[in-house]
């Protein structure tokens, strides 16, 4: 059991960390939440046996932990729409990168909650469509189409952003 769990940890730590960071926008909360995610995963590790997809299993825990965190800390906002209160994407340190990158970062804030979640799982958590389908309980095919549309939407938003400069 020890070897297996540490294998899972080594394989996906960076993805979990980045996914949580993009949600919380700060290092401290990220570390607390990432610790929670892996502790829960460790405790429930025996349940992974027979699960077809270990990364999807781990990210279901990660996603629920982030949702729980916001639910507990902003209990005024308990409800089905809590995801819209997840903090908008922002980073502690400004990027050194190009203007296009900055524009893309800004554009992410204009996505709907569902689109943002799909983008974060796909690009920041580096998940495959089949993993995302398990986590979001959606069809793999529709997620592919949706991601393609989101990418196009982001392209338009970036163009607007660059044009406005």
């Amino acid at each position: 059991m020890e070897v297996k769990f540490v294998d899972l940890y080594d394989a996906y730590f960076d993805d979990v960390y980045r996914y949580v960071y993009v949600k919380t926008s700060n290092k401290w909360d990220t570390e607390d939440l990432v610790s929670d995610v892996f502790r829960k995963a460790f405790e429930k590790f025996s349940m992974l046996e027979g699960h077809p997809n270990d990364k999807a299993w781990l990210f279901t825990i990660a996603r629920n932990t982030v949702i729980d965190y916001y639910r507990k800390n902003k209990s005024v906002l308990i409800g089905d729409e809590f995801e819209q209160y997840l903090s908008p994407l922002k980073f502690e340190d400004p990027f050194d990168g190009t203007t296009e990158k900055e524009c893309l970062q800004k554009s992410l804030r204009h996505l709907s909650d569902e689109d943002l979640e799909i983008t974060e799982l796909r690009y920041f958590a580096d998940l495959k469509f089949k993993d995302m389908a398990v986590i979001l309980k959606k069809e793999e095919g529709s997620l592919r189409v949706k991601t393609n549309r989101i990418t196009k939407k982001l392209g338009v938003l970036v163009k607007k952003c660059l044009g406005g400069l």
């Binding site: 993009v22 892996f38 639910r71 296009e100 920041f124 990418t151 982001l154 392209g155 970036v158």
Partner: protein, 592 residues
């Protein structure tokens, strides 16, 4: 922008988030160690048990087994001391007693009562003692305080350039202090004999762990462990007000997350951390901050008790309270969890009550109606959950209103402890006075008229100018105990019982010059408390023995709630109020 370029740039954004590899390594180690220790434990259980037994004889009673901070669960938490007037400027715990400094008043010790022991005021105390000697600071000077003789002596003068705070013993001759400076506070070591001072490191509020030769302190909102010999620093966490246990195994501190402060504990080896309060959102306007602010979580003599000062952050700016939090490696049972939850509601420790709920609602406690007692009825184990049924008694201050609600608490095990998943009200019985001055019993919506003001024999009533006030019915439902509030200039309260079978009235007590506040019955139904205030607004309480017809009077006391057949009462003094547990059978009280 092309689709491919967008994708590429999104991955670049991802890679811009730098993974903290130190944290990654540190967290990883905890899982490697956990697995190993599990195997080791299994193989050596008999030997381990023998060793524990052996150590139990060798070690002093207070020594606790060293378990990880994350394995410690909250066994109980109660705010037992309210400081109503004046600020608590500092407090410390030594040898079973809490020492507090109250602004402009002096230093007090809390042990069965709050007794002033010094006229001096402290702005900080030492965390630990050397023998019977504590240290404290006031206005930049450092004092020695002998708790045996209750005398103080100045040992170090602060000047305008060197003002000292947060003293900490290093050994009999040396102390650590925080030297307050304009730019940055420094932790210094001072030889008490020669007054020689050495700068150690930037920071404040140091705790010293002798066996490891380390200092734990705060700097720029971070808790830091500093090795005195090597100078190596390790960051524990973001936070303030660190304090270590006497055995040096745990650090307590206050940490803010998204505007909500909470008390946390960490292992000294940083393997695990544990949040031990659940700060709820404020009662009124959401301000982005929690309902409470916490300060100075300090440890009792063992490694299982914490004392923390908390203040309301919202509109109800009440006095500062000292809360005692008891930790245990054992989980509370289902019944203990429900009892703790109801107790927390009754003393309005919303933070503790919330920690016992799986999905806490926004508001838990209200001023009125309020709970005044409870009784556990039964426990049923289901396949995945446990049901605990309990009766909760409610009243409305100074009004003729009483309610008994039966609740079904469903508990689940989460992270090795029980949490209340749902609370369902199964039935209610209300007792109230209607506008026609009649007493009605309303059971699950059905009304029954019991008696009216006119039914009470005139010989019992001194004046016509009366109204019904606090009331209740006995647990068997056979009797109603009620009060009549005199409305004349010199007010008077009369307590009666009404037998529902014989329709007869019985005069229990007359409380002269009183304004009725509430009445409550213990779990056995034998003892009744009546809280009232005099015209001069002094808090008075009686305990009435319904079996023997005997009355015991208390002054400057309020009942809080009946915990079974023991009364939790609050003694109210000019400067503060304190909770005690009172046993009406023996007349004895114990403090928290």
């Amino acid at each position: 922008m092309e689709n491919e370029k967008i994708k590429k740039t999104l991955y670049e954004l991802r890679n811009d988030i730098e993974v903290d590899n130190d944290f990654k390594k540190q967290l990883r180690n905890t899982f490697v160690k956990k697995s190993r220790s599990r195997k080791w434990k299994n193989a050596w259980i008999p030997l381990l048990a023998a060793a524990v037994l052996f150590l139990a004889f060798l070690l002093p009673n207070e020594q606790m087994p060293n378990v990880k901070a994350s394995s410690l669960k909250i066994a109980n938490a109660i705010s037992f001391l309210d400081i109503g007037s004046g600020e608590i400027t500092a407090y410390t715990y030594h040898d079973g007693r809490l020492y507090l400094s109250l602004e402009g008043k002096g230093i007090f010790v809390y042990e069965n009562e709050l007794k002033q022991v010094l006229n001096d005021v402290a702005d900080s105390f030492s965390r630990s003692s050397k023998g019977d000697k504590l240290l404290f600071t006031f206005n930049g000077d450092v004092f020695l305080f002998d708790v045996k003789t209750m005398k103080s002596e100045k040992v170090l003068d602060g000047t305008s350039d060197s003002s000292y705070i947060y003293p900490e013993w290093k050994d009999r001759n040396h102390i650590y202090l925080t030297k307050v400076a304009d730019k940055e506070n420094q932790i210094v070591e001072v030889n008490v004999q020669t007054k020689e001072e050495t700068i150690i490191v930037s920071g404040e509020m140091a705790s010293f762990v002798e066996k490891e030769q380390i200092l734990v302190f705060e700097r720029h909102g971070e808790i830091i462990i500093y090795n005195v010999k090597s100078g190596k620093e390790t960051i524990v966490d973001r936070g303030k007000n660190p304090s270590v246990t006497n055995d040096g195994n745990y650090i307590s501190y206050v940490k803010e997350r998204s505007g909500f402060e909470d008390v946390w504990i960490s292992d000294m080896d940083l393997e695990t951390k544990n949040k031990i309060t659940t700060n709820p959102p404020p009662r009124f306007e959401p301000s982005g901050e929690g309902m409470y602010r916490y300060q100075f979580p300090i440890w009792g003599n063992d490694e299982r008790t914490l004392y923390v000062m908390k203040k309301r952050n919202d509109g109800e700016n009440g006095p500062a309270k000292i809360m005692k939090i008891e930790l245990s490696e054992q989980s509370s049972t289902e019944i203990e969890t429900v009892k703790s939850y109801l107790q927390a509601l009754m003393v309005r420790d919303d933070d503790f009550a919330k920690s016992l709920l799986k999905d806490p609602p926004e508001f838990l406690t209200y001023s009125n109606p309020k709970q005044i007692g409870f009784q556990i009825l039964e426990k049923t184990k289901n396949e995945q959950s446990t049901s605990v049924k309990a009766e909760v008694y409610w009243t409305d201050t100074s009004l003729a209103y009483y309610k008994v609600s039966t609740y079904d608490f469903i508990l689940m095990k989460e992270n090795e402890r029980y949490v209340i998943e749902t609370v369902k009200e199964l039935s209610t019985t209300e007792l109230l006075a209607n506008e026609q001055n009649e007493i009605e019993l309303v059971k699950d919506g059905k009304r029954e008229l019991l008696f009216s003001l006119q039914d009470i024999p005139q010989s019992f009533i001194q004046t016509e100018n009366v109204r019904f006030s606090s009331l209740l019915h006995t647990h068997d439902g056979k009797n109603v105990i009620f009060s009549l509030q005199g409305m004349d200039e010199t007010s008077e309260v009369t307590l009666f019982s009404f037998n529902r079978e014989t329709k007869s009235f019985n005069l229990l007590a007359t409380l002269e010059g009183g304004i009725m506040y509430k009445i409550a019955l213990d779990a056995t139904g034998r003892y009744l408390t009546a809280d009232y205030s005099t015209d001069a607004l002094d808090s008075k309480m009686i305990i009435f023995d319904l079996e023997k017809g005997k009355q015991t009077d208390f002054t400057n006391v309020r009942s809080k709630f009946w915990k079974g057949d023991k009364l939790i009462l609050e003694e109210v003094a000019e400067t503060h109020s304190m909770y005690y547990q009172y046993d009406p059978h023996t007349g004895s009280k114990i403090n928290y």
